[in-house]
């Protein structure tokens, strides 16, 4: 970012950055989705506090080196929200799974009854 840019130019730059951020959030969400499936297969919990603490520590460290206006706590707050959404994706998928299993079981029971 160059300081001599006009308000309109800066806003245009912010729009461009947002396009990249959303695409990267999409990639991150897809990874989290697959992580959820692996956790499910391995029988691990959706919420793993130690992993979340490690993610926050990692992004704090990356941010530290940049020396910009976002302090470590601010980055941590943003990442808390991002991880909330990742957990939500995993929970929704686990619920779909549970529902499907239930349906299958019911079908099985009906078949057995017949």
């Amino acid at each position: 970012m160059a300081p001599e840019l006009s308000l309109d130019q800066l806003r245009e730059e912010i729009d461009k950055i947002d396009e990249v951020i959303v695409r990267l959030l999409d990639s991150r969400a897809r990874c989290a989705y697959t992580v959820g499936r692996l956790k499910h297969q391995l029988g691990r919990a959706i919420y793993e506090p130690a992993r979340e603490a490690a993610v926050i520590a990692h992004v704090r460290q990356v941010n530290e080196a940049l020396g910009g206006p976002l302090d470590g706590d601010a980055v941590a707050r943003l990442y808390e929200r991002i991880m909330d959404e990742a957990r939500r994706i995993q929970r929704l998928e686990a619920e779909r799974d549970a529902k499907k299993n239930q349906e299958n079981n019911e079908e099985q029971i009906t078949k057995n009854e017949i």
Binding site: E19, V20, S27, Y33, T34, E93, R96
Partner: protein
């Protein structure tokens, strides 16, 4: 020559222009765009553009001066998207083709196909007929190799591209491959190119390779060709950093640069065990290197408004 119809040209007007051109001995390729219809005209007939321009519904007649007509941007302004099953080449997503230089054994093809699929490749590459500079080098497995490649790509839900070296291979390759590749060595083999055009409707990937006075790399990877070809043509552009560099440690930086420069796809040599490869081992990536490259590309592509081999999301529950 390209005939651009007026935005509100009626079907009758369009049909009259096509009929006139056909009568004059021309082939007409009709493209219906978002707002107007464009007719691409090629052939041996003699047409006076001014007379066509006078016909009802015609907006403009543009002569294509390049020797390539159908492939030129003048002929078609929008990017061409090639569809093979559920695969779309030339769209927003950068497509990665990966695999061994040549098919060597069932185990090698399957191990490599599994590795490239896992990393996000959409198409398997691999040769069965190898154009080697020396007659003493491994010449490829022939049709059994094609069979292995087809089985490997089917098993891992990949499309297949393989090189055709001679017109007498067109038929047999057509039985197995989804895309033909013509190597740089054969790009002046006009008999082969003509036969391909006549005998297949499958996509053909044409290679261009250059050499310079630089001797450190095997060939020279000309990244400047990407924006140039994309301006001249509406066809998708792929980059082969493996053959350009000839050394596996230099493939990843050039692959990253190619995506940043706007390539629609990459074709990369990956081998499950490069040190034992029968050909091009030195430029074949290890699967772990390829995994890392794909992860890097997934971060670079969004910066230029594209995506690359995203993890598929099927919202059907984990169990599927």
């Amino acid at each position: 020559m390209v005939v651009v119809m007026k935005e509100r040209a009626s079907d009758t007007e369009v049909e009259a222009v096509i009929a006139q051109l056909v009568e004059l001995g021309m082939d007409v390729h009709r493209s219906t765009g978002a707002s107007r219809i464009v007719l691409g005209v090629v052939g041996g007939g003699k047409v006076d553009p001014r007379l066509i321009e006078l016909m009802a519904g015609v907006h403009e007649v543009v002569r294509i001066t390049q020797p390539y007509k159908l492939a030129s941007r003048t002929f078609q302004a929008e990017d061409t998207i090639i569809t093979i099953g559920d695969l779309r080449i030339g769209g927003d997503e950068v497509i990665v083709i990966a695999g061994p230089c040549s098919a060597e054994s069932e185990a090698q093809v399957h191990a490599t196909a599994a590795a490239v699929k896992r990393a996000g490749a959409k198409v398997l590459r691999g040769g069965a007929f190898k154009p080697r500079s020396s007659p003493y080098s491994f010449q490829g497995m022939g049709e059994p190799g094609l069979q292995l490649l087809r089985e490997g790509s089917n098993a891992h839900d990949l499309k297949l591209v393989t090189e055709v070296m001679d017109a007498n291979q067109i038929e047999v390759i057509g039985k197995y491959a989804d895309i033909y590749q013509v190597g740089a060595r054969n790009m002046q083999n006009f008999t082969l190119l003509r036969e391909l055009g006549q005998h297949t409707r499958k996509p053909v990937m044409l290679k261009r390779g250059i050499r310079t006075f630089e001797t450190f790399t095997r060939n020279t990877l000309d990244l400047s060709a990407i924006p140039i070809v994309k301006e001249l043509s509406h066809l998708p552009v792929f980059v082969d950093p493996s053959h350009g560099m000839g050394r596996r440690d230099k493939v990843a930086p050039m692959a990253r640069a190619a995506v940043a420069a706007g390539a629609d796809g990459l074709i990369i040599e990956v081998h499950n065990d490069p040190d034992r490869a029968l050909s091009d081992g030195a430029q074949s990536m290890f699967p772990a290197q390829f995994d890392r490259l794909m992860a890097e590309l997934r971060i670079i592509a969004p910066a230029i408004g594209r995506s690359i081999c995203l993890e598929p999301v099927a919202r059907r529950g984990w169990a599927r």
